[in-house]
């Protein structure tokens, strides 16, 4: 097996509970380096729980199953270690942190990762040069740097800010939780550009989305349909188009029939 085809994420028979409800009920998913996977599904199918449990969100209880990341037991790692090891989550609803400079958080974040990798930390000047270059690519206004983290950002600004952070941190595994929802077409294209720029043989990307329109711009290698807490169907790009045409009822009915 070549290095490029190494498995980055391997989830097996994962069962996860939030409160009293079992949300993920035997989910399995394998993602190799270089691949982009799209996970689609109706509301309430467990999409955000999947990204949450992989990133280590508190309040989710793993009942059984496993998840390994680059061969390590992902579920045993605290959330900050997962992040330092190259796992990035673009949040569906990025939280506001009043008074904390956006650029300050990003610098602290990148330097935490660099320290972990044994690389020298960037000073303020070096970091600013780096972030400015990325910012220009995202066509974001520089004033966003010195505002509080997500404080008073529009919905689109918040999502783009997530992609900006992703491009700075250059993760090995990027999980995007409905980053496309609520974006107009121009913002959607920018987000897609950011994701495409990150694509590389060494990385993997998991896009969680409700709609297939993002997939017009970021062409996935695999598409999975999540329903009832597990993946009920997997296929190539054409599966997304079929879903668009026939709706989720089609796959859900299929599950019931199977």
């Amino acid at each position: 097996m070549s290095d490029d085809s190494r498995i980055i994420l391997d989830v097996r028979e994962l069962r996860v509970r939030a409160g009293e409800r079992v949300i993920l009920d035997g989910l399995s998913l394998s993602v190799r380096a270089g691949e982009v996977h799209a996970i689609m599904g109706p509301n309430g199918s467990g999409k955000s729980t999947l990204t949450g449990v992989l990133a280590g969100r508190p309040g989710l209880e793993v009942l059984s199953g496993s998840a390994s990341y680059l061969g390590r037991d992902l579920l045993a790692m605290p959330p900050e270690e997962r992040a330092r090891a190259g796992l990035f989550l673009a949040f569906q609803y990025p939280v506001e942190i009043p008074g904390v400079n956006n650029v300050y958080l990003m610098k602290a974040s990148l330097n935490a990762l660099r320290r972990h990798r044994g690389e020298p930390e960037l000073d303020a000047f070096e970091f600013l040069n780096l972030v400015r270059a990325r910012l220009a690519a995202m066509r974001m206004d520089e004033s966003l740097l010195n505002r509080g983290v997500n404080e008073g950002f529009s919905g689109g600004e918040k999502k783009r800010n997530e992609i900006l952070q992703m491009s700075l941190l250059e993760p090995t595994l990027a999980l995007l939780d409905e980053t496309d929802s609520g974006l107009d077409i121009d913002a959607l294209k920018l987000v897609a550009e950011g994701v495409n720029a990150l694509r590389s043989p060494a990385r993997a990307i998991v896009l969680v989305t409700h709609y297939q329109r993002l997939l017009d711009h970021v062409v996935p290698d695999r598409v999975h349909v999540l329903a009832g807490g597990r993946i009920v169907r997997s296929g190539g790009r054409e599966l997304a188009l079929e879903l668009e045409r026939r709706g989720y009822d089609w796959v859900q009915d299929g599950t019931a029939a199977a």
């Binding site: 900050e80 009043p98 602290a108 974040s109 935490a112």
Partner: protein
């Protein structure tokens, strides 16, 4: 990277192995307070007669007063006859001889806070003069100040050298009978700071007790008086960011500021007295009266305080906006962790026309800490066009602490505009998770969030103080989350 630094509480709570035995023989009087003790203090200080009269008047008032009990704090009764009211600074015999004799844990904390070496010695109680050549440093500053005509000296020296100013201004902002602790202070204070900035002079440097060698050991009843004459400007920094070694439990200081026409006084405090251990044993009771009088037209007084220490904090730095067009500001960060209790805020008394005041209060509660904001905005009938803006934010960490807000607004002029905003928030799991997901350690994330919360206040502090204040909050909150 997150090697866990030693918990501040445990290290300041440690007993000092070298012991600080006070030399009773000559420099300390027996516990207890009566008129003879006050006469003795006045004689020891070589004070003029008016000072003794003033002290005795204060003492007689104090005898008829009762300890205030309205604050949202709880502590066992204080036995005022068990306190020794005079203990002169000694050059040797008490305290460690050099830094080598000081608890290494304490030094470690100083290091973490980035306190300069010579400052560490002073904080740890080393007899500085014997070890470091600080005198020359002080002299340099004294010369520069003298050139500008600024007087900055120990209070007791001012009583002897500038009796006219003392007699005129002492007690003119905080009268002897103002409150129980102010009356006690007026009767028994032994030293403190005096600043006089002449007409039209902009003080050439930030004045800090740090530059005044004998600022330490002025004891528990410190007295400060700052007078800014017409058109002058002065910025004064008080306190230190490191845990202060101090064996006195009760601190009852009085600070009086007087700003004449077009004068400006900026008074910044970072207070980090010993807060007691995590069970609430020990710790300083910080019962302080601070008040500024904007006596002149278009004068301005700003209070900025960062209060992280003391077992109990009871202080309300206030402004009397007497002059037309005068401006009062109060910005505060108060932290109550473990068993600490803070009842702090301000009073803005609008008397003159077109007077303005701003209040920004940031209270942080963690552990079992109890934090209360108590503030009064009062607009008198003659204060046409008075304006006040108050913002009062509380941040809770954990579910055993408390935040309380007691705003009082009394308006007797229909043209006044008063705004009050208050928020209470918790460091949310979502905020914490967001930072963790970005690879930031939990403690760093908490510090970042707390510092963001305090930003409006920190940016008012002089640069080097702001950095220390941030470090201080970090050290004070170690272990508050997780």
């Amino acid at each position: 990277m997150s090697s866990r630094p030693t918990d501040l509480e445990s290290l300041v709570a440690r007993k000092y192995p070298h012991g600080f035995v006070t030399d009773i023989a000559s420099d300390t009087v027996a516990p207890g307070l009566d008129e003879d003790v006050i006469r003795m203090i006045s004689v020891k200080k070589g004070e003029p007669a008016f000072m003794l009269d003033w002290r005795l008047k204060a003492f007689r008032r104090w005898l008829r007063m009762k300890e205030p009990v309205w604050a949202h704090v709880h502590y066992p009764p204080i036995d005022f006859q068990a306190i020794s009211y005079y203990s002169a600074p000694t050059q040797s015999g008490s305290g460690p001889k050099s830094l080598a004799d000081v608890d290494p844990k304490l030094l470690e904390t100083y290091d973490k806070l980035g306190i300069p070496l010579h400052e560490r010695a002073r904080l740890a109680g080393v007899a500085v003069d014997a070890v470091f050549d600080s005198v020359s440093v002080a002299t340099t500053f004294k010369e520069r100040l003298a050139e500008a005509g600024v007087t900055f000296c120990p209070f007791s020296e001012a009583v002897l050298k500038h009796p006219g100013l003392i007699e005129r201004y002492l007690g003119s902002v905080v009268p002897i009978g103002d409150n129980f602790y102010a009356a006690l202070n007026s009767a028994v204070f032994t030293d403190g700071s005096f600043v006089h900035v002449p007409k039209g002079v902009r003080c050439p440097m930030e004045l800090s007790t740090y530059f005044r060698i004998n600022a330490s050991k002025t004891g528990q009843f410190e007295r400060t008086l700052i007078i800014a004459e017409e058109g002058s400007h002065v910025s004064y920094l008080e306190g230190c960011t490191a845990p202060m070694r101090d064996e006195n439990q009760l601190h009852a200081a009085v600070v009086e500021l007087v700003a004449l026409d077009d004068a400006e006084i900026k008074y910044s405090t970072v207070q980090n007295w010993y807060p007691g251990d995590e069970n609430g044993v020990g710790g300083i009771y910080n019962f302080v009266t601070k008040r500024g009088d904007c006596r002149g037209r278009n004068s301005k007084i700003s209070w900025t305080q960062v209060e992280t220490g003391s077992a109990i904090t009871w202080k309300y730095p206030s402004c009397i906006l007497r002059g037309d067009g005068s401006v009062g500001e109060f910005r505060s960060v108060a932290l109550a962790n473990h068993r600490q209790q803070a009842d702090t805020g301000t009073k803005m008394i609008h008397m003159g026309r077109n007077t303005r005041s701003t209040i920004i209060s940031k209270g942080i509660s963690a552990g079992h800490g109890q934090n209360a904001y108590r503030g009064l905005v009062k607009v008198l009938p003659g204060a046409d066009g008075a304006r006040n803006y108050t913002q009062c934010d509380s941040l809770l960490m954990g579910d055993r602490c408390g935040a309380h807000t007691f705003p009082y607004i009394e308006v007797a002029n229909p043209t006044a505009v008063i705004e009050h905003e208050a928020t209470t928030s918790k460091i949310s799991d979502d905020q914490l998770f967001y930072c963790l997901q970005r690879g930031i350690a939990a403690e760093d994330a908490v510090n970042m969030i707390v510092n963001g919360f305090c930003r409006q206040v920190f940016r008012e502090l002089p640069m080097e103080f702001a950095v220390e204040a941030q470090n201080l909050l970090a050290v004070s909150l170690e272990g508050a989350v997780g």
